[in-house]
């Protein structure tokens, strides 16, 4: 391993160096993805210290298991890291208390209440504050559906709930957000 060649930011090369346990390559990958992974953790875990620990555990798991990772092209590192971080966050949330309490499923409305275009009106902090205002179960389903782009079947498989429960949780999350946005306005 040539330390001078670490200036090459090619992800494939960085991954190869990380497999050789190169601290410099690990630091480069860390600096490249720490922001996005930390934001992801903060979306799921409102407590900042817990989010930091989830971030730490995510990178630790990533570097320790990097020999089992196969580089498949641009974005594969980001996808794998996000998957690891998501699992770490869900594990932490489950440790605190059960994410979902068995409850009577409400009728699922496909046409969820829209709250208008908030992009121009709210900054990132306010969006994060809104997300954090949701209960854990609602917030998790909302994050998975809106920010991770999963469908209800995938969410159900990941969280161990039914599709309808996922839909119900998303519906309630939207209602809460709508109320909060209206109150803010």
């Amino acid at each position: 391993l040539n330390p001078g060649a670490l200036n090459n930011t090619d992800e494939a090369y960085l991954i190869r160096c990380c497999k050789d346990n190169s601290p410099a390559a690990q630091k480069m990958l860390y600096n490249k993805y720490v922001d996005s992974i930390m934001i992801l953790c903060m979306r799921y875990i409102p407590d900042r210290e817990d989010a930091k620990e989830a971030l730490m555990d995510s990178f630790f798991h990533f570097f320790n298991n990097i020999n089992g990772f196969t580089y498949l092209g641009e974005g594969s590192v980001n996808a794998w890291l996000k998957k690891i971080a998501l699992n770490q966050c869900l594990t932490r949330l489950r440790k605190k208390r059960p994410l979902f309490i068995t409850e009577k499923e409400v009728a699922v409305f496909e046409d969820a209440p829209a709250a208008g275009n908030v992009h121009d009106e709210m900054n990132v902090r306010e969006i994060m504050k809104l997300v954090h205002s949701l209960p854990d179960g609602y917030r998790t389903v909302f994050n998975l559906y809106v920010f991770e782009g999963m469908n209800h079947r995938e969410i159900g498989e990941l969280l161990g709930i039914s599709d309808n429960t996922s839909k119900s949780q998303l519906y309630k999350a939207r209602e809460i957000l709508k109320k909060k946005i209206l109150q803010t306005n």
Binding site: P23, D35, I39, K52, M56, N117, H119, M122, N123, R125
Partner: protein, 241 residues
């Protein structure tokens, strides 16, 4: 189907920066912590000086303990099988050829056990063989046989260290043991003359000369000196080699 609200939120979060959300987040500090977890330093265990001294003292104590509790007597008892002593044959005289010829012997009486027998008028005979086994008591195991002929009576006879102590009526008599007479060995006149020669002829014991040259020299000198002597008689086997 995602609403515009959700798409707006997602796009709003895409452009989010960590500095805006969490300005106090220190990347370098977090990296240092992560790096420490990835490569934990191997802590060298430093033993204090007193631990070495304690180890030496423990070794000394262990050695002393083993030495004290591991005596040769115990080993002998453990490893050597105990053989029962074979009692000597009774009423059998020792072979006479055990006494070498022409060697004067002075044998004292053997120590015998204190024995008390009933006797009235004891008669003590010195003999090589016991003639009347019913009325005799053999004593000793070195070929010296005593035969005490007893007469029935109320008195008692005590035999101690070859001394028979009689009761009050009689005086104690001392018995001195003697070697049984052996047949005299035939001695050649030449042998008698050659007795002095044994001291003149010196043979180097085995292993005296490690150097073969010195051994050969000794052999030549000795043989020449003896061969030149007119008093040399080969009957003694001085030169067996």
């Amino acid at each position: 189907m995602k609403s515009d609200f959700e798409q707006s939120m997602r796009e709003g979060m895409k452009g989010a920066s960590l500095n805006e959300l969490m300005p106090e987040f220190d990347k370098q500090a977090e990296w240092n912590q992560l790096s420490g977890k990835l490569r934990p330093e191997k802590k060298r265990i430093l033993m204090p000086i007193w631990s070495y001294a304690a180890g030496i003292v423990a070794l000394i104590l262990a050695g002393w303990f083993c030495t004290k509790h591991h005596t040769p007597e115990k080993t002998l008892v453990k490893n050597t099988p105990v053989q029962a002593p074979v009692p000597p044959p009774i009423n059998e005289p020792q072979p006479t050829n055990q006494v070498p010829a022409l060697v004067p012997h002075s044998v004292s009486a053997p120590v015998v056990k204190q024995t008390t027998v009933a006797a009235n008028e004891p008669k003590i005979k010195r003999q090589g063989r016991i003639k009347t086994a019913n009325q005799s008591i053999p004593i000793g195991d070195t070929g010296l046989l005593f035969s005490v002929h007893l007469q029935p009576g109320p008195t008692q006879l005590m035999i101690t260290d070859s001394t028979i102590i009689f009761p009050a009526q009689s005086q104690p008599k001392t018995i001195t043991a003697a070697v049984k007479k052996t047949r005299p060995h035939a001695v050649n006149v030449l042998d008698i003359d050659n007795e002095d020669r044994q001291f003149m002829i010196t043979e180097a014991p085995v292993g005296t000369y490690a150097n073969p040259f010195l051994a050969k020299l000794h052999s030549v000198i000795t043989q020449d000196a003896i061969a030149g002597s007119d008093r040399y008689y080969p009957l003694q086997g001085a030169f067996k080699k």
